[in-house]
Structure formats: C-alpha cells, structure tokens
C-alpha cells in the first residue's frame, strides 16, 4: 500500500491508474474500508442539502464578512459523539469531528481496544472519535443526525483511509496536509511519505470536485501551537495549498494560530490571504475558493477557567478584528483535559458574544498593521523562493530538502525530519520574533528588525535573551501573562 518512499516526489496530479491501484490497497488496510464505494459516496454527497456543505457555508460567510465559529469535539463512541455534536450545534456555525490519536497513527487495533474499554467504563477513554473503526455507516449516522456541515479534524500523517471513509460518509471538509500533519504530530514519519499520502487525500478531494462535489480542504495552520512565528506557518500553508490545488482541490481554507500580539495577529491573517492569492495565481491556478481560519491560542492555557476565558476572548477579538472567515474555539477546560459539552458550549458562547460585539466594527488599519503585514510577506517570500530553488521548480522535493537543510524549521516539533534549531521569542510588545534563525534564509534587514525588537525586550528586562527566556514565554500565558518576564 505504501508508495515507494525513496522515489522522487513530483508535484503533479496523481495518474488515475496509480490512484486506483493505491486505493484498492488503502481500502484493504482495515475491514471497514470495504464499505467505501466512490460513486455511491458522490451520490450521497450530491444529495446533501446546501446547509450541510462546508464550502457553501464558508463562501456565504466570506462574502458577508462574517466569522464562523467552530469547536473541536470527539469522543470514543458513536452515540456519545452524536449527542455531543447535537448539543453543540446551536452554539456554533460549523461542526467538527476530532479524531483520536490512535487513528492518527493508523493503530485501528488500539482503537478497537479503546472503544471496548470506553464501553466498559461507560465514558470515553479516548481523545477523539475513531471514525475508521466506526466505519461508513457509523459516520453517516453521525452526519445525518446533524444540521450543519461536519469537518474531519485530526493530525494524521497517513490519512488516506480516514479520508475515503469520512468523505464517502458525507463529511464535507478535511483538515490537514503532508507537512502540517506530520512535523507537529509525528516522530519518524518521512516527509516524503506524508506529502505523498496527502497528495492522495487531495486527489480524492479533486475527484469529488470533478464530480460536482466541493469538499473544503484546510491545511493545519497552528503547527505545534507554541510561539510559531507567522511566516513559519504561512510557508507551510502556501506549500500545502499549492500541493492541494495541483491535485484538483478547489476550496481551501488557510490557517493561522493566534500568536497573542493583536497587531501581529491581524497582520498574519491579512498577509496569509494575500500571499495565498499571490502564490496560487502566480502558479497558474484560478477558479479556487479561498478563505482563512484563525485558531484561538494553541499553546499552554491557564488552569483557572475564568483566566482561560480571557485567553479565549482575546483570540475571539483577534479573529474578528483580523476578519478571519472562521475561528476555532478553545474551552475553559483547555489546560486540564478533553472538554465536556458544557465547557465547549461555554467557550463558544463567550466567543460568540465577543464576535457579535466586534464583528460589525471598523477593522484596524493602522501603520503598525501595515508594517507587520509587510514584514511577514517579505519573510515568507524569502523562505519560499529558497524552497522553490531547492526543489528546482518541484515544490514537493523542495519542501523535503528545505526541512532537511533547516531552511524550513518548526519550533518545538517532535519530528526527526525537523531541524529544531530555529528558536522564537517574544519582543517587548509580545510579538513573535526569531531569536535563533537556524538555517532559515531571512533577509539581513529583516533579521536586524527581529534582533532590535528582541534587544528592546532584553533591555527592559535587564537580561540577555536565552533559552530560559523562551521557556518563560512558553509558560507565560499559563501564568496569566503574554510575555515571560522574570518576576
């Protein structure tokens, strides 16, 4: 079933024959794969009412300048999952199904055990919904019980079987990508393999598109969720967007995880959309539908629920002021564990209040936002032009080589394929800057800008920037601060 992991990857639409052969193998990796029939899946999708279609709902929001709300939610058992999403549905605009961590590593055997033990325990012992194990019928039962579009949210390097089952079952959006669902989520999966597997997923979505079914695709913007400078994730977003477009995907939502500095966060969402348009059209793609998603703070949360509301609401404010098409909502239980329905609903309600109150107000348009937007664009262009050069025009290979050489480098990522040298730190305003650029090819004047900003902070704290400063920043929001100042 695995494509040969040493063969050169090309960024080209997978040939039908290759795809068909691979599909047979994929569907055979777990018994529930046998139920999938593409034609029948297309018919099922075509019958979904428009209000259950992710792409249509995203388009309407984007046209109206609205920001949609989406929670994360996944439990082990089907009936529990139906109950959970049914309860959350009134408080959000689009629904998730978050997949458990065993499925993410294709350990369907462990899932079977987890499901069994959850049944015994009478409560979910798993951190998500094992969709592959529940199979086509289980997933359809879920989709049919709900009134809003449902997306698969996971973190799976090889998500081919999961895609086949959930898309045939009526899910209308699929999160992830060959980089964003590998580097932050896996340890020893080759980038070559995960990119190739995601070409399959994208091609599957492309095939649905060709049959008139528009599936929304969302590369995972936040990566490790921990002090990721905007340009780092933006590069990943654009590469995954290009890889997806090539396979025939037509509806893409680019993501970004809140950094915490309002100006930088607004600039991040603006630059993300503009860079997306810039690179996608420069690569010759057109007729695609583009939108953005803003993730409320993805790093460590404060323990106290009331403090967590502060973090949630700042994220809601930033999403709204930035004009993101969608916001992914955290809960007051974030620091502790998978949230209950009530905690999830509470996060949504606080976010709704904030978005409703801010949504119709003027969007900030000061010089500081313009400066940060420009800075992010220059950083992204510098890195991506190196990636293109490394791949000699082949962005799939270029990406692999960029990670090998540290040209692309994601802070705090567990993957061996990642250099892990680039080190971010906050500046004196809390914006994310690069303390150690590792091997990323940022222009000298941009680096000087980062250095100066960090120096300002170092001066106001009376200490040298160091890894301790970075650790302090990692812990700061949990300790009810943004910047990890010494006490």
């Amino acid at each position: 079933m695995h494509p040969d992991s040493t063969e050169t990857l090309v960024n080209q639409r997978l040939a039908d024959k290759v795809f068909e052969t691979e599909r047979n193998a994929v569907l055979n990796t777990w018994p529930t794969g046998a139920d999938v029939n593409f034609r029948e899946g297309v018919r099922y999708q075509l019958d979904l009412p428009v209000e259950k279609q992710f792409s249509a709902v995203m388009k309407a929001a984007d046209d109206a300048g609205r920001t949609l709300l989406q929670p994360r939610a996944g439990v082990a058992l089907l009936q529990e999952q139906i109950a959970l999403l049914t309860d959350l549905q009134p408080y959000c605009d689009v629904l998730p199904t978050t997949i458990d961590a065993y499925t993410r590593h294709n350990r369907y055997d462990k899932c079977a055990n987890g499901i069994a033990r959850s049944r015994e325990a009478g409560r979910s012992l798993m951190n998500g919904f094992p969709a592959v194990n529940h199979g086509l019928q289980g997933c359809r039962e879920l989709v049919e019980a709900l009134d809003k579009p449902v997306q698969v949210r996971h973190g799976t390097p090889d998500a081919r079987l999961l895609a086949e089952i959930t898309l045939a079952a009526g899910f209308t959006s699929y999160e992830g990508g060959g980089i964003s669902y590998n580097i932050p989520y896996a340890k020893s999966v080759k980038l070559r393999d995960s990119i190739r597997h995601w070409q399959y997923c994208d091609r599957l979505v492309g095939r649905y598109e060709e049959e008139g079914v528009r599936i929304n695709r969302e590369p995972f913007g936040p990566l490790t969720g921990t002090l990721v400078p905007p340009f780092v994730s933006h590069c990943v977003m654009i590469l995954e967007g290009l890889l997806a477009l090539e396979q025939g995907v037509k509806c893409i939502t680019l993501g970004y995880g809140q950094g915490g500095n309002l100006v930088q966060d607004i600039a991040a969402i603006r630059s993300l959309r503009e860079l997306g348009e810039e690179y996608f059209s420069a690569a010759g793609y057109s007729g695609y539908q583009l939108s953005t998603v803003f993730h409320q703070w993805m790093g460590g949360f404060p323990d106290e629920e009331s403090s967590a509301y502060g973090v949630i609401c700042l994220g809601a404010a930033a999403a709204s002021l930035a004009g993101a098409t969608k916001v992914i909502v955290k809960t007051p239980h974030e620091a502790s564990g998978v949230p209950t329905m009530a905690a999830n609903r509470d996060g949504l309600r606080a976010t709704r209040q904030m978005i409703n109150m801010l949504g119709e107000q003027q969007k900030p348009a000061g010089d500081d936002v313009a400066l940060e937007t420009d800075m992010i664009k220059r950083e992204v262009r510098a890195v991506l032009s190196r990636v293109f050069a490394l791949g000699e025009g082949n962005i799939a290979e270029g990406t692999i080589r960029a990670f090998e050489s540290g040209v692309m480098d994601i802070p705090f990522a567990p993957a061996r394929a990642n250099a892990g040298v680039l080190m971010p730190v906050r500046d004196d305003n809390g914006a994310l800057r690069v303390l150690d650029k590792g091997n990323s090819p940022l222009p000298d004047d941009v680096l000087a800008f980062h250095r100066d900003r960090i120096a300002e902070r170092a001066a106001s704290e009376g200490r040298e920037p160091s890894f301790q400063m970075v650790i302090d920043d990692v812990n700061a929001i949990s300790n009810s601060r943004l910047i990890g100042r010494p006490l």
Partner: protein, 154 residues
C-alpha cells in the same frame, strides 16, 4: 554498578508514552533536569513501554519519567510496572506526569489511580519543576539506601 560514594550521579530515562506527540513539555523537562545536574536519556515523544524499559536497562537509570499529555495515559501506562518486573527491572523509580486521563478530573483521583498502577510519584501539569528535581534526587538517594544500606549507626 552504581556506588554510594558517587551520589551526585542521577540518571533518568524521559519520554512521552504511547502515540502521544506533545513535545513541548518534554523539551522543557529535559532542559530543566539537565540543568539541575541530572543525566537525562530523552527518548522524546511516542515511546512504547518496552522502549522505556530497554533504555533503563541499557543505561542503568535510577528512574523512568513517563509523560502522558494527550489523554490515553490510563490505557498506555497500564501494566508498565508489571512489565518492568518481567524484564528484570526490579527497583527502578517510576514517575508519571501530564494530563493523564481524558477530561478535567480531580487530581486526587488520578493520583490514586496511578499509584495503584505502581507509579512512585504522580504529577499534575501544574507541578513545580524545582519540587520535581528535589523529589527525584531524594527518592533516588533513598532508593539506593534501601538497596545498599550503610551501617545503621551512620
């Protein structure tokens, strides 16, 4: 064979168990323990029970520090102490910490659950890492005393 005279040598195996990818806490733990003069064999994320035990046997570590952040801790840690015995690792210290179970729970209940499973210390995500270093060193010393007691009069 470790000798009592060499009492500043603390060696621990560190890792995140199961299919868990949460790497941030692991990197911070490794850095803090290292700075506190503890020799850390860091296996990183996604470590199986046997990989922990292999590393402990290989390096003669005093303790295994298991993290579980993603919620499957209850399943993933099940039987670890037994497996240590099976593999002949009779007196290794077992610490566990992180977001050990699914959902927001009372920490006391979690502690009880994991102590019963044979862990020597169970830590919440809010644990103070200075305390951790202290406990670890004390426990290691005590463990060595238990193994090779000095003359009672000392």
């Amino acid at each position: 064979m470790k000798s009592m005279s060499n009492k500043h040598e603390y060696k621990v195996v560190l890792g995140v168990i199961g299919s868990d990818c949460h790497a941030v806490g692991n990197k911070i733990l490794a850095s803090v323990l290292g700075q506190a003069g503890i020799d850390v064999i860091n296996l990183g994320v996604m470590v199986s029970q046997d990989e922990f035990i292999d590393a402990a046997i290989e390096t003669g570590a005093d303790a295994i520090l298991v993290s579980s952040i993603y919620g499957h801790g209850e399943i993933d840690c099940h039987g670890l102490r037994g497996r240590c015995f099976e593999r002949g690792l009779d007196d290794v210290l077992l610490y566990v910490g992180g977001n050990l179970v699914i959902g927001k729970s009372d920490f006391q209940d979690i502690e009880t659950l994991f102590l019963k499973m044979g862990f020597d210390r169970v830590c919440s995500p809010r644990v103070d890492l200075h305390d951790l270093v202290k406990w670890l060193k004390d426990d290691i010393i005590e463990q060595r005393f238990a193994r090779e007691p000095l003359t009672k009069s000392a």
